[in-house]
Amino acid sequence: MNQQELQALMQSFEATTLTRLEYEENGVRLVLERAAWPQGPANPAAFLPIAAAPAAAAAIPASAIAAAPSPANSAASSSANAAAPASGSYIKAPVVGTFYAAPSPESAPFVTVGSSVKKGDIVCILEAMKMINEVPAPCDCMIEEVLLADGALAGFDDGLFRIREL
């Protein structure tokens, strides 16, 4: 049985009023159980409006704004965003602002994938209301992934880079 099959079974079980399922065959063993009055509550994560129609703007989960969730919420939204990296540290946005990888359009980016930086080195710029906020590396690290496109809006605490500490 793989993960998807398990998920499907859980879902089917959920749709019934059963309180216990036990299954055993060829060394595979599965038990599903729940308390007598389960009252399908309200996991916020499961709460999503119905899909909007063609002409309507679809309701987009918050995590879709910034391409990468911060580690803080990656666990909670991992199934919603398959692209979320499973491990690693992040350099996160200290303020809301527009992400620029380079000091000016003509310049080379501060860092690229594979760059090694020292703590305090500038890794990108967040522009907020015409003000330039330089974002320093929080530690000596290697850039593993650039998580935002140039010009994208970074929300507070959004991941900017996935890094490996050195």
């Binding site: 749709a15 399908g40 499961a46 709460f47 129609a53």
Partner: protein, 463 residues
Amino acid sequence: MFKRILIANRGEIAVRILRTCNELGIETVAVYSTADENALHVQLADKAVCIGPPKAADSYLNRQAILSAALGSGCQAIHPGYGFLSENAEFADLCAKHGIVFIGPAGDVIRRMGNKAAARELMQQAGVPVVPGSDGTVADAAEAAAVAEAIGYPVLLKASAGGGGRGMRRVFEAGQMAASFAAAQAEAVSCFGNGEMYVEKLILRPRHIEFQILADSAGNVVHLGERDCSIQRKNQKLIEESPSRALTDQLRRQMGEAAVQAAKACGYLGAGTIEFVLDKEGHYYFIEMNTRIQVEHPVTEMLTGLDLIQEQLRIAAGLPLPFTQDEVTFRGHAIEVRINAEDPTKDFRPTPGKTGFLHFPGGCGVRVDSALYSGSMLSPYYDSMVAKIIVHGQSRLQAIRRMRRALEELVVEGYPTVAELAHLITYHPDFLRGNYDTSFLEQHLEGLLQVSKAEEIKEKADD
């Protein structure tokens, strides 16, 4: 006013009725089958009496059990809601016999309006237009052709004993009459052993327009405007709205007057609905009267600011209507969508089950009537309608947009519903233009379901 009444129904309409009773200080006795022990109407009522096992015939249609419950619990009146015993003349008689007020018209009125031929005749006498046709049967193709000439083609040939489309032919011009008549009559003879034939005008793709009326015991009758219920699937209404795009002010006045005439002609009492078909040329014809409150009555409540259940209760208690026709005012536009627990992709198969996460829309201009709650069970024994979403807007467009956002907010987990289909309908150009008739869903269902499927695939791909 009554001190205590029994509500002989279940689901959202039972909840609807007991809400108004509660507001009027009338004590409520709910009835329920063993399948409905935990139903919302049971929990909200002052008292509840179990009246039988799950099958409706043994419980909600069990006249004796319901009347016993009413008598045994000291009720003065019974509100039948819609469906079940609401148009059952014998039950109305039985209530009268036992000194219980049946909240609706007298048994005889129900009987009279329930018999299509008798109702048609009564309406003709009262000067209310009915679908033109032969007076009784026609002897042969020639007589049929003469009738058809008089009322105009196309016409429908119908076997007197017919049913289910057998012994029935559409005739679009005189040249087809002889052959069609012969074929229909032969079919009628072979199917029913009876070759008597009628002729009736064929109304192609009509609108379904109904007028809400109220009649008190002093003989006052007012109408509360129309509802356009043309968005139907196999005669099951899905979306209703008011005012109808198809009526001019003049036509609305005419039809409203005809509806009042109709109610007066049958000696009506209480809230009722006069149903008309309306053809493309603005000709309207009485088709039937619903002698009860209807599912879509909130549309009228949103426009008029009235509480129709309150008016029913007042009338049944012998009180006169507190307003005249001129004092009825209409504001803005209202739309209702019925949320049925049915799977549109599987031929609208009902989908009973357990309600999971539930979230109803709210806010400005939105009303929800439902007996659902998080965790409630949807029984397979009864109707699949689980909620009604009603919106009000200053304009039709605002109402449509409000309905869209209400449907987008709605979350019913646990089983499929028609909410997404209804949402798609609100984007259809013909619906947007108000340019639709009773054939709308038949014509567009396939296409709408394909859009829905494409959306789903796209969503999965986006994940």
